[in-house]
């Protein structure tokens, strides 16, 4: 019984390490493949469409609602201390530092990441990747790298949109509905949100999340068992693993960026 347990444990450990090794090798190939994407912007453009444009709506709408909720909740909490004027700071700081990068990355993993995994997995299952190899076209360079680059570039843009729309949503609720002074909302925000510490760090976060989410999504698709069941499992793994990685990395990044303040 004990031996069996240890055996399974050892087997699983070995399996996860070999998978990590494959993923790392895959990443190296993908990143070095991006060099061959640059002379062909059309490939990138097409993927920016399916990764970025198709996530646009869900990101902006979610951003608006998150901002509005922040406006409401923030107002009720802050008005207890007579500090409604700092609502703008609260909404902007939470969006720019945390919610913008994190929530948009989670949505991105659900919308674009799962779609990428399913697409790559199906291409593998229908022998499209294999067929490409036999046509002397490297599927990593032709298929994977453009998608990776598109994910990496789209993520900060989506996160910025999420935050911007959210801040406007917070203002709509805060000063439109609850009567916080509009000038105070913006001026308090401008006085307290730092370009370097908040905006740049937020963008860096979303770049990291875009990198990791695209990597996970593409690898899970590329590494999936080429059957319909295998692809659906891989899609689930993409969403779960991306969520874990985003939240875990967010903690580490926050500790590094905002720790000594």
């Amino acid at each position: 019984m004990m031996i069996e347990f240890l055996q399974t444990l050892g087997k699983n450990t070995r399996a996860s390490f070999t998978k990590l090794g494959r993923a790392t090798f895959f990443l190296i190939q993908t990143v070095s493949g991006t060099a061959s994407v640059l002379p062909r912007p059309r490939l990138l453009l097409k993927q920016m469409y399916s990764v970025g444009v198709l996530s646009f709506l869900i990101i902006t709408i979610s951003g608006l609602f998150v901002g509005m909720v922040l406006g409401l909740q923030g107002y009720y909490t802050l008005s207890d201390f007579g500090a409604e004027e700092t609502l703008g700071v609260m909404v902007a700081a939470s969006l720019v530092r945390e919610l913008g990068p994190v929530v948009s990355a989670l949505l991105f993993a659900g919308r674009a990441g799962s779609a990428l995994t399913a697409e790559i997995g199906l291409m593998k299952a229908t022998e499209q990747l294999s067929g490409m190899e036999m046509m002397a076209v490297d599927p990593i360079k032709r298929i994977i790298s453009p998608r990776f680059l598109a994910g990496l570039l789209s993520m900060p843009l989506l996160a910025a949109l999420f935050s911007a729309v959210g801040i406007i949503g917070g203002q709509l609720v805060g000063s439109g509905l609850l009567g916080v002074d509009e000038g105070a909302y913006w001026s308090q925000m401008q006085a307290n949100i730092d370009f370097q510490d908040d905006i740049i760090n937020g963008v860096l976060k979303s770049l990291v999340f875009g990198f990791v989410t695209s990597w996970i999504a593409l690898f899970e698709g590329y590494d999936s068992v080429p059957t319909s069941e295998g692809v659906s499992r891989a899609t689930t793994r993409t969403v779960v693993n991306s969520a874990f990685s985003i939240l875990g990395l967010d903690f580490i990044l926050t500790a590094l960026m905002f720790g000594d303040d």
């Binding site: 444009v53 902007a92 720019v96 843009l157 911007a164 370009f195 905006i199």
Partner: protein, 160 residues
């Protein structure tokens, strides 16, 4: 080919919207606009105690932000705190006998430097020095003094 054209346009719109979002965050939301748009000049003020003042704390006059703190250091000779203030050049007519005080915005808010113009006809220039200052009110001290005072008053009241 119509199909790809629409796609191109949408991608272009998406990228433009994303960059507009970033621009909005930088200029409208953060303090980037407040110290890149204008040139500024620096003056210094010496305080007995600068309390919780920090670099980038705002400097205001009559409640309007006119600059920010760019440096705080301790002078080992006079045991004072030397605070450098960067003031927007459009406010270059601050009199020499301006008073600098450190106040707290609200009960829990952060500390800022408030400048109160005097009556002199000479203005402060770059590298100038503010002579009259009022230190930060340290909450613990203030409360301590208040308690001490009321205890004294009580004691006096009993004597009578």
């Amino acid at each position: 080919m119509q199909h790809t054209n629409t796609q191109d346009t949408l991608v272009g719109l998406f990228v433009a919207a994303g960059i507009a979002g970033l621009f909005f965050l930088s200029m409208q939301v953060s303090n980037l606009s407040s110290f890149t748009e204008h040139d500024s000049y620096t003056i210094t003020a010496r305080f007995e105690n600068s309390g919780g003042l920090k670099v980038k704390s705002p400097v205001s006059a009559a409640g309007v932000k006119i600059g920010q703190v760019t440096g705080i250091r301790f002078d080992p000779k006079t045991y004072q705190s030397v605070v450098s203030l960067s003031i927007d050049v459009q406010y270059n007519n601050l009199p020499e006998d301006t008073t600098a005080s450190i106040f707290t915005a609200g009960l829990l808010g952060e500390q800022y430097v408030s400048l109160e113009p005097g009556g002199s006809d000479d203005f402060l220039k770059n590298g100038g020095n503010i002579e009259i200052t009022q230190s930060a009110i340290i909450l613990e001290k203030a409360i301590g003094q208040f308690l001490f005072k009321s205890a004294e008053e009580k004691a006096e009241g009993k004597k009578k």
